[in-house]
Structures are given as C-alpha cells and as structure tokens.
Subunit: 216 residues, 2 copies
Amino acid sequence: MGRKSIAEIRREEFAAAAFEVLSLHGMQGTTLQRVAEHTGASKASVLHYFSNKQALIETAMRRANTTLRKEAVALLSLASTPWERFYAVIEANFSPTTFRPEVAHGWIAMCAEVPHNPQFQRLQNAIYHRLHSNLYSALKETGADPAKANVSAHTVSLLIDGLWMRCGLQIGGLNRDEAMTQIETVIEQSFPNDIDRLAAREKMCTIAQAFVANKV
Amino acid sequence: MGRKSIAEIRREEFAAAAFEVLSLHGMQGTTLQRVAEHTGASKASVLHYFSNKQALIETAMRRANTTLRKEAVALLSLASTPWERFYAVIEANFSPTTFRPEVAHGWIAMCAEVPHNPQFQRLQNAIYHRLHSNLYSALKETGADPAKANVSAHTVSLLIDGLWMRCGLQIGGLNRDEAMTQIETVIEQSFPNDIDRLAAREKMCTIAQAFVANKV
DNA sequence: GTTTAAATTGACCGCTGAGTCAACAAAATC
DNA sequence: GATTTTGTTGACTCAGCGGTCAATTTAAAC
C-alpha cells in the first residue's frame, strides 16, 4: 500500500521544490523554470503535473502546513493533561525542524499574497482557527475562566505570529529557545506558580526533543 | 522656503502612488505602468525621477515609515511622564490613519521582500530598534527593573507585530480598539493597578484623538 | 516482441514588464 | 523674442515569464 504512483511522487517533489524555491527567492523569484531546475526536471514536466503555477504554489503551501499539523497532532496524542496539550501546541509551533528563517520566509511570502488570493485566505483562516481552538480548549480545561482562557489563547497566538515574523526577518538573531522563553514569561504572569503547568512544560519539552531525535 | 521644486513634488507624488498601488496589488502587481496611471502621468515620467523600480519602491517605503515616525514624535512631544511616553508609542502604532488593512498590506509586502533586499533589511532593523528603544526607555523610567522593562518592551513590540499582521490578513475583523485592548491586558498583568499608568493611558488616548481630529 | 499507455521534453507562442532614447513641449533666463 | 534648461512622453528594445503542443523516450501489458 505504501507504493505511490509516479504522479504522486512527482507532485510531492515539485511541491517540495516549489516551497524551497519560494523560501529562497520569494514569490517574484519563484518561476516554473527555477522550480524545475531545482529538481532536475524540465519546466514542461512541472506543468504536466500542475495545471498552472498557482496550483503548484497552493499545493506547496498546503503541503508545508500539513507537515506542521502532523507534528502538532503527534505531540498532542502524547499529551494527557490540558497543560500538556497546551505545551504540545507550543512545542509544535517552535519545532526545530520548522522554526527556521527559511520556512518563515515562505510563510511570510504567503501572508503577503493573502489579500490577492482567496485560496491562501482560506488556508490562513483555517490555520488560525485551529491554532486558537487548540490553545483555547487546552487552557479552558485547565479549569481557567473561559473568558480568561480566550484572551490568553489570543495573546499566545499573537506572540507566535510575532515570533515567526522575527524569525523570518532575523531580527536579534532570534532562536527557538528565546522564542519559547518569550511565551513562557507571558503565560507565567497569567498562570503563576502552577505546579501542573510547570510539570507539563518539562514533560512536553523532553517529549518534543525525543520526537525530533527519533525522526532523524 | 515652503516652495518645493517640481522634482521634489513629482518624487513625492510617485512615491505615494507607489505605496498605494503596492497596498492594493501587492509586490507582483506593482508595475511602473500602474504607478504611472495612478497619478495620470506616463511610465517614462516615473523613470525620469527614479532611476529604476527598486529605487521607487524603496523611497515609497521610507516615506510611509516617515509619516509613522512623525506621528510618534508628535505624540511623544506631548507626553511628559514615562507612562505617557509609553502610551504615546502605542497610540502612534495604532493610529486610525495608519492602522488599516491597506497600510498593513504594504508593510507585510515589504517584510516579504526583506530577505532579498538589503535596503529593506536595514529599514526594518531601524524600525524595530527605534520601537524597542522607545518602549524600553519609557518603561525603565517608570522605575521598573531594567530587565523587566526590557522583557516587557520585547513582548509589547511582538504583540504590535502580531496585531499588524492580523490587521493585514483581516483575521477576526480586528480593529484599532481591540488591538489596543490586547496590549492593555498584557501590560496590565505586568504593571497592575498602577494609578500613574492608567492616568497616562487616559491622557494619551484623548490627546491622540485630538491630534487626529486636528489633522482632518 | 509487439502494442499500448504514460512520462518527459524542446521548441515555440503571446504577452507583459523594466528600462532606453530621441523627439517634443514648456518654462525660465537672458 | 531667442536660447537654454527642464519636464514629459510615445515608440521602441529586450528579456523573461506562463503556458501549449507535438514529438520522443520510457515503461507496462499482453
């Protein structure tokens, strides 16, 4: 069953290449020619598997989002308490495999296109809705006041945005640990000295590390 | 002395038009032709005043940033206490004249170009440095621990980024007031029940309103 | 081994965009 | 009023893009 058709393999290859080229050269510099070269194939071959450039880039973005989501789902499945779920989401959003300037470049490039591409708009909305929903439900189930959980979820997702932005712009040489520290200081103020929270943080941190190590 | 040379007038016109076109059509859709049409002039005329497209867009971005900075300076000059300075910066960053989706589109488009344009990189660095510096010095002079002031300044500037991002992506129909409320809830947790702070907030809010009304 | 289907590509087309240039119009200077 | 300087533009070049297509190679089926 693992056997994939050549068509599927090629589509994967080209979509992956498209995302890399996008990260490297931006939306302007992402031409069919370059994407093709990046895989060693010809431009016509790319257009054989994708009806046009827009379709290619859209699946590239969707693919990138899927890998992020999969990691989040995997970590969430290993979490057993609300706080663990909360930190699972955080860890997934700052996974060493994805929280890199190159990936952030691709993400920002997509954001810049959102106003002119309804598909991207939908995708963005879905991403934000899922993120907020995950954060909110986790926080609420810790026993927090729903209103407070809602506000905190918004704040955290805002911080995540800002941190990804800076990762892309490479301001202050931001790295994964600093990013997570930033979130922690804010959440610490809202939920101070919570023994469950701190334990969950430790646990998900090690689980995430093991998870990454395992994949390599 | 107010007399400006035609060259200066044209450069202003074209730069302003370039920013508007950028906001409307994104970086891809910002062609010399469109910018020219937007002012009623010809494409060749634009190239008479700007050596090339890149130079045009760069001055457009610099110009947009300058208007933001001027508003910040004006509000800061009306502030007399540290907390008032803090809220002057906040008000300037969420001024009704600038905190609009169209402007945010332009800003995000620039961010997407940063990795491929050293000029934009420098501009971005300058903007962030100034923002953080303003926030930090204001917070520090309220008597707060410098380390705490530093962390809070970072958090607030992160939130500002995230809020502008969402303004551009038009997620959750974010408006000015909600944005400022978000910041307030976070800062309230770090500096709770501070009578000076709340007074400063009120004052700068009304000053900013008067400032905007006065300009119209 | 032959036939059939799928995969791949070079050559080509139409179009649009950035940038050049020489010609023209309009002030400014004398 | 003649001359020079400045502003403005249409017509042009040239390159690169997305996209089509027919031809060719490769693999599969029988």
